[in-house]
Amino acid sequence: MAFSKVLVANRGEIAVRIIRSLKECGVRTTAIYSEADKDCLHVRLADEAYPIGPPPALKSYLQAGAIVELAARIQAQAVHPGYGFLAENAQFAALCQEAGLCFIGPTPDNLRLAGDKRRARQVVEEAGVPVIPGSHRPLLSVAEAQEVCRSMSYPLLLKASAGGGGRGMRAVAGPGDLADEFVTAAAEARAVFGDPTLYVEQRINRPKHIEVQILADSQGRVVHLMERNCSVQRRHQKLIEEAPAPGLTQALRESLHRAAVTIAKTVGYHNAGTIEFLVDQEQRFYFMEINARIQVEHPVTEMILGLDLIKAQLAIAEGRELGLRQEEIRARGHAIECRINAEDPALDFLPDPGRVEQYHAPGGFGVRFDTHLYQGYEVPIFYDPMLGKLITWGASRPEALARMQRCLDELVVEPIKTTTPFHLQVIRRPEFIQGDYRLDLAEQLLQEMDSGSLEAMQA
């Protein structure tokens, strides 16, 4: 069924991104907005827009029942959740189904499995894909943890089964620290996710974060859309992503692609998703988790493939066949994305909301800026600090990098402090230029920074 009207259950950059593609497909677009977002760009661009509640997300963008009710009332046929908010909420996806609405994304079962990190890990291992050495056993007490960890080699990582985003995750250096770290991690997991269940994995030394984009249609056909390197992270938050991933052997790259397709087929995955892996210094890879949503960094894949992933999601949701054959999917050139956040790198990434007095978006050949910014926009205090994603494409990686540097220099979002100076530092680092960087790059750079370069960042 072709949809004539779709409700976009999100805000800001990603709502704008989705509305644009839907419009190009001739779909009437509906935005929702909180009281703090009346003047947000997604509201202006949508064909129609409805208020959904007060500023805090819990009272607006997370009101699953109210959003489904609205979508049904205005006779939308489908809901696109974007990322964050309700995107990975199995209950919301099920509510949509019950109301006769299509949830443009994975099935409720997919979302439940992806959300249970421990069970996902077990299913993936049973499918023959390597996982980080550890235990599938749910750990609910210090005694259980001590029993399981006796046969493992330290350092270890305790993780929340319901976790994600680095919350409820604790490193354990040696057996003497296990009891303390267990209690802390379980308390955090209970507080953040409402479930104290933990599991344990070995800590991989200086890994790279490599992920593979997949698409799966309702006939169970799965294709991979190659990989991305997302190893520039601070406190488990990605800051720079690129595709294809530099510095991997062709054999490893193909193994990762195959593993991602195997996982998607094994779990009966539907629509767009990402399989995240860690790659260690010996070029061994390990499954980490399934991200059951369109991801922030999807544009780098779009840029190297010339493929609109939101339109692909729409086609899959409408039950159209994936008009894509694996052998036809070829990368052209290289793409890099820098997340422009309202955070001050000179002040330990302190958030900096406020009014945009002066604005200039970089432009030119091979440049894409996915953003909801405009001159005079008041960045609210209530939501994620991401203002936009600066993406550059180049025929080669050096060209994409040079273009990124040029664009970062061109960007003006005054007087808001942004992550732009941090990105400029990263892309000038030799290990980044050589394409051989690991998850510790950002923290290393921030530690090494003397007061001189901090002042340079403030300038």
Binding site: E343, L350, P351, D352, P353, I381, F382, Y383, D384, P385
Partner: protein, 83 residues
């Protein structure tokens, strides 16, 4: 107490002002409490990040100028303290 001995504790950023660490928990400080330098006075939530606002001095809380869960602006006075 002379007016000029009051210390104006200003908000370093805009955000939502919280007097206690959690919904069911007692406030960090009340008027009349003695506070140590570095002691947490309140939390500010800005763009999903929580920042602890700490006392710059050993002293006493004279006045709390914001209601719990109020939206505060950068440089708005949150507390009056005295040494």
């Amino acid at each position: 107490m002379s007016q000029n001995s009051l210390i104006e504790m200003k908000s370093p950023l805009s955000g939502v002002f919280y007097r206690s660490p959690g919904p069911e928990q007692p406030p960090f400080v009340e008027v009349g409490n003695a506070v140590k330098r570095g002691q947490t006075l309140c939390l500010l939530e800005t763009m999903k990040v929580f920042t602890r606002i700490k006392s710059p001095v050993d002293g006493e809380v004279v006045e709390i100028l914001c209601a719990n869960e109020a939206t505060v602006e950068k440089n708005q006075i949150l507390f009056h303290l005295k040494r």
